[in-house]
Amino acid sequence: MRSPIRSGTIAAATITTITAIALSCGIASPVYAAQPAAAVRSVASPAGALSDSDATPRGLDAIQRAAATQTTRRIAALNRAIPSVTRNAFLTEADRDAVLATLNDALDGMRSLAATIAADTDADTAATHYQQIFTDYRVYAVALRQAHYAAAADGLTGTAIPKLIEAQSALQAAIDADPSASTPEIEESMQSLADHIAEARAAIDGVAAAALAVTPAGYNADKTVLNSSKVSISTAVSAVRLARLDAQSVREALR
């Protein structure tokens, strides 16, 4: 009689404790609490390296089948990206408007070309329209890629770097309030923090605008036109990551 009661009590207490710990952990995590809803997931990308060759198939039927596949794939990718871009809390309003204009224009273009090619009655005309799926829109190589790069750059320029500067100021205020707590290691970390912030700012300056300025025509002329944006973002991400470690190091040393 006693044993089941005790077991039940212990079990209930255990569940209560586990629940409390779980809730406490969830509430107490500043990283997760600070994540905006939009940060939970990113713009969905096309599934891996799909074969999207522009080698135009021979014959009207084959062209029409390939066009249906290529436009459907791009329409699906754009339909995944548009809501994600709309929700992305880090994009500036101007950049979001620019990205959405491009994505919606590409979406309209894909739908229009799909209908046009399906209605074509000769292979030569269909082949010309088929090529336009790629050369006129560059959905993957330009539209989606520049959307992601602009969002990445805006997240760094609009939030990550300004918040690092805030942390830097707060740490400096803590040092100034108690100069005796400072050490050569802390001073070195503060200098490293300043250097990494400067490096991140220099790397990311103007990157979102440059990425968004790329057009399908620009890409057709130079397939590497977005590569410098990628390199700049990678450099800035690394610098921000190192600056964050510097700040954490100072914060721990001052504790």
Binding site: T19, S42, S45, P46, Y140, A141, K230
Partner: protein, 89 residues
Amino acid sequence: MRAARARQAAAATLAAVVLVLSLTGCGARGGGAGDSSTPSTDPAGDSTSISTDDRFAAVDDALADVDGALGQSETDLSAGDEAAATTDE
């Protein structure tokens, strides 16, 4: 004799109920560790701890925001690279 046994049994049952209530009710009313809505009397809430927390609250808040933005930027960078890897020729 029978009445005495009945009283003993009732007393034992009552004691068991009180024990169960006190154990299960502890978290809800007694400020147990799992009850975040109840003010804690834990010494961790003394003025020294609050002062230390306040000193670094701005740093912790700022770094949490850095983490959120940095994580999203890394995700977007990868997604951009993934899009680029899809042949669009």
